[in-house]
């Protein structure tokens, strides 16, 4: 049941999804990737950089800079600025912040951008310096980074709910199918369940195809009022409901839930929709175990029934439950904080009918969710948004 009194996001649209094709390794800086994304927004929207008066940035590798340094770097003069360090939950949070700013008139056109580079050693450095708790109490234990943290979560979850690796495999394999239709996906060869099962172990029970490939890339979108978009002749998507939660109060000794569970009634209540109404779902897929957790916590099935849900649905673009239609991070690559955006930019394209080869037929309503920040032993941030097409 909906418990809070949240104002709607009426009158705001999210538009101009931009994806700068990923590269496994890049010699360029994060600034370069973020700059390409900004230029992509300008080129695709026809809006001059001078008219962008709000800027919201997420990046792991842009240090020592933050959003403020980049205003000067890119010649932006904005009256609203935000830097969101929420990892995989950054895109949902970026939209929420930007939309409220636009509704309140603090900004007219907000560019939301996430971009990261991937030098040959930058991923290890990110892990080593990820958070104080991680440096104190997680990374010195085998230096497995996110793989080890999610292995501990996955093993506990599998034991608790009787889930097999095959169940996770169905998610990874279906996403690879989808990726084969996405020209920008880094993974270009088919993946079978047999290959998934036979992959080399990374941190038991996590095996190779449970892991995302770190890469360089950028994603972006614009947030503005409907009439601004109309004036610029831009097609925009509407957000019917959205939630975020950080450090949810849960009794889980080892993480069994994401924070979505705390606000799920608000999400569906605001949207006036039910899980069965959706045409597609883009979950945050740093590991299949988190996808399954999301399917449960977002209300597509009950806790503990994620495996059965995955077994009884076809998660490919043309299937009964189109899911992570780009191939997701598992098959398209994880471009740092841009991994938060991949599901959101794709959702915008889907409801606007501009997804091209990954288009779900007649997609009108979809969901994108985010999850991020394994600060110590669990992911702290979660978010979700329900996105609809025009009219």
């Amino acid at each position: 049941m909906r418990t809070s009194r949240r104002a709607s996001y009426d009158g705001v649209v999210v538009t101009t999804p931009v994806t700068i094709p990923y590269q496994r390794y890049s010699v360029e800086s994060a600034h370069w990737w973020i700059g390409r994304a900004l230029r992509g927004l300008v080129d695709a929207s026809g809006i001059s950089p001078r008219d962008i008066d709000g800027f919201c940035l997420s990046s792991f590798t842009v240090g020592p800079d933050t959003a403020i340094g980049l205003t000067q770097h890119f010649g932006l003069s904005v009256r609203w600025l935000d830097h969101i360090p929420l990892g995989g939950a950054s895109a949902v949070a970026a939209f929420r912040r930007a939309a409220r700013a636009v509704q309140a008139g603090d900004a007219d056109i907000v560019a939301c951008v996430a971009g990261d580079t991937n030098h040959v050693d930058s991923f290890r450095r990110t892990l080593e310096n990820f958070s104080r708790f991680a440096a104190d109490a997680a990374y010195p234990y085998g230096a497995g980074g996110a793989n080890a943290s999610f292995a501990l979560i996955a093993r506990h979850y599998m034991n608790r709910f009787g889930i097999s690796r095959e169940d996770f495999g169905r998610i990874a394999v279906s996403q690879r199918d989808n990726a084969l239709r996405n020209p920008n996906a880094l993974m270009k060869t088919p993946l079978t369940l047999e290959q998934y099962m036979a992959a080399r172990p990374i941190a038991d029970p996590i095996h190779l195809f449970d892991c995302v490939m770190p890469c360089a890339g950028a994603e972006a979108f614009l947030v503005m009022r409907e009439e601004k978009a109309a004036a610029a002749k831009l097609k925009g998507a509407r957000v019917l409901g959205t939630i975020e939660r950080h450090n949810a109060r849960l009794d889980d000794v080892v993480q069994n839930h994401g924070g979505w569970i705390a606000d799920i009634d608000d999400l569906w209540g605001m949207a006036g929709a039910a899980p069965g109404d959706l045409d597609f779902v883009q979950t945050y897929d740093d590991y299949p175990v988190i996808v399954m957790m999301q399917l449960e916590d977002l209300g597509f099935c009950k806790k503990g029934e994620g495996a059965e849900f995955v077994r009884s649905h076809d998660l490919t673009i043309d299937g009964t439950f189109p899911h992570n239609t780009t191939g997701g991070q598992l098959s398209a690559g994880q471009a740092g904080a841009a991994g938060a955006y991949i599901g959101v930019t794709e959702s915008i394209r889907q409801v606007l009918g501009t997804a091209g080869p990954t288009q779900v037929k007649d997609a009108r309503l979809g969901l994108a969710s985010g999850f991020g920040m394994i600060n110590y032993d669990r992911g702290l941030s979660s978010g979700a948004m329900i996105i609809a097409g025009e009219g």
């Binding site: 104080r132 010195p140 085998g142 501990l152």
Partner: protein, 413 residues
């Protein structure tokens, strides 16, 4: 099951000696509270003095009541493993060379969840006994061991990264002439080490000489003589895995009642310059051999008087020489850590030997110091207070250093 450790064979002299990589060493200031506990072999966590919540990882405010008063507090060491994994593809060099590596999450009886290194005989769902250990970076880490005795428990390869067990290692004890040196040599041999014992002026007879020569390799060594130390290092330097600096040159006296400085210089020669000579001769080779297999260089042990920490006027100049050497040990600790070799400091009260003849009990049996050295090496502790007097000084230093200073210098004879 842990397979028993095998005695290493002769090394191929053509093989490159593996360099020591170190595990991730970054810790917050508050995180270093646990380093303090680990150095002393305590299992202690922050505990909120207002609401009683045990906190982990280390914090600057209680997550229950936001109190900033979170003192390090001894904690119950029981827990249950609630998940585990084997990290097979670590991101850093230290763990990559040692992969695969087992870790788990332990739900502590006292509340927090703790990511921990797992002993090979600890599995998901089982009860474990937790401890804080110092890893090769010298930083505190949580380690889960079985609650019961298991076969070859100390031979577990992850546990051995946290310890400096004498088994199959070669040790040099600097002074075989004293009861202390002889007790240390015997204890190390009993713990499985091959022992070299230094002896200055070997023509001078001494009690225990026969046993010493029968049981150990007796080698010429006068720590106060730089050349003597260098010569021994030229022979032995590449194969000393544990060095025990048991130098003991005790003369009573403070500053005003002695007209000569020679006795004071002798103390500095033995304790301070002796330390310097040993460090410069043996330190570099030890630092280079920290990852050299089962019998890698592992530890440098100093036996200090606890009065290195607070001057005891009746042995005032000796306290000063001890303090000088203690300071050097902290310097050495930082330098040897780069090679994964730890520096263990023992703090002792007066020993039951002729130079403390007039000192009332309690006095420490040399054997007790020897056992404490072996225990420190096997358990991986770094700062050890041996016996009642040392423990007394430690506690009073914490409580009120000024009161201790007054007590220690009021009854000068």
């Amino acid at each position: 099951m842990v397979e028993p450790l095998q005695k290493p064979g002769r090394k191929n002299p053509l093989d490159r000696t593996r360099q020591q990589a170190l595990p991730p060493a970054g810790r917050s200031r508050k995180g270093q509270l646990l380093t303090l506990a680990a150095a002393q072999g305590r299992f202690a966590l922050q505990c909120c003095s207002e609401c009683g919540l045990f906190c982990y990882p280390a914090r600057d405010a209680c997550p229950n009541c936001l109190s900033a008063d979170l003192p390090l507090t001894d904690a119950p060491n029981g827990g249950t493993i609630v998940s585990e994994t084997t990290v097979r593809v670590p991101t850093d060099v230290y763990f990559r060379e040692r992969a695969s590596w087992r870790i788990g999450i332990v739900k502590l009886d006292c509340g927090p969840e703790m990511v921990a290194h797992l002993h090979a005989d600890c599995y998901d769902g089982e009860r474990v006994r937790m401890s804080l250990q110092l890893d090769k970076s010298g930083q505190a880490v949580a380690f889960a061991r079985p609650t019961e005795k298991t076969p070859n428990q100390a031979d577990d390869r992850q546990w051995r990264e946290m310890t400096a067990t004498p088994k199959f290692r070669r040790a040099l004890v600097t002074n075989g002439r004293t009861a202390l040196g002889q007790a240390v040599a015997a204890a190390l041999k009993a713990a499985g080490a091959e022992v070299y014992v230094g002896l200055a002026d070997p023509w001078k007879p001494f009690p225990g000489e026969e046993t010493l020569k029968r049981d150990h390799h007796v080698v010429p060594l006068d720590v106060a003589d730089e050349r003597s130390v260098q010569e021994l290092a030229a022979d032995l330097g590449g194969k000393i895995d544990i060095l025990v600096n048991s130098t003991e040159h005790v003369r009573p006296g403070g500053l005003l009642d002695r007209r000569v400085t020679n006795a004071v210089k002798d103390e500095m020669d033995q304790h301070h310059f002796g330390f310097v000579h040993l460090a410069q001769a043996f330190g570099p080779a030890m630092r280079a051999r920290g990852a050299d297999g089962v019998n890698s260089a592992a530890a440098w042990v100093n036996v200090f008087s606890v009065y290195a920490l607070a001057n005891w006027a009746p042995f005032g100049t000796n306290s000063a020489a001890q303090a000088a050497a203690l300071s050097l040990s902290h310097c050495l600790r930082g330098e040897l850590r780069l090679g994964g070799v730890r520096v263990v400091n023992l703090f002792t009260g007066p020993l039951d030997t002729e130079w403390f003849q007039t000192v009332p009990p309690p006095k420490l049996a040399p054997k007790a110091v020897a056992s404490a050295i072996v225990a420190a090496l096997e358990n991986g502790t770094e700062d050890v207070f041996v016996g009642d007097v040392a423990e007394d000084v430690r506690q009073r230093l914490l409580a009120n250093p000024k009161a201790l200073e007054r007590d220690l210098n009021q009854r000068i004879s």
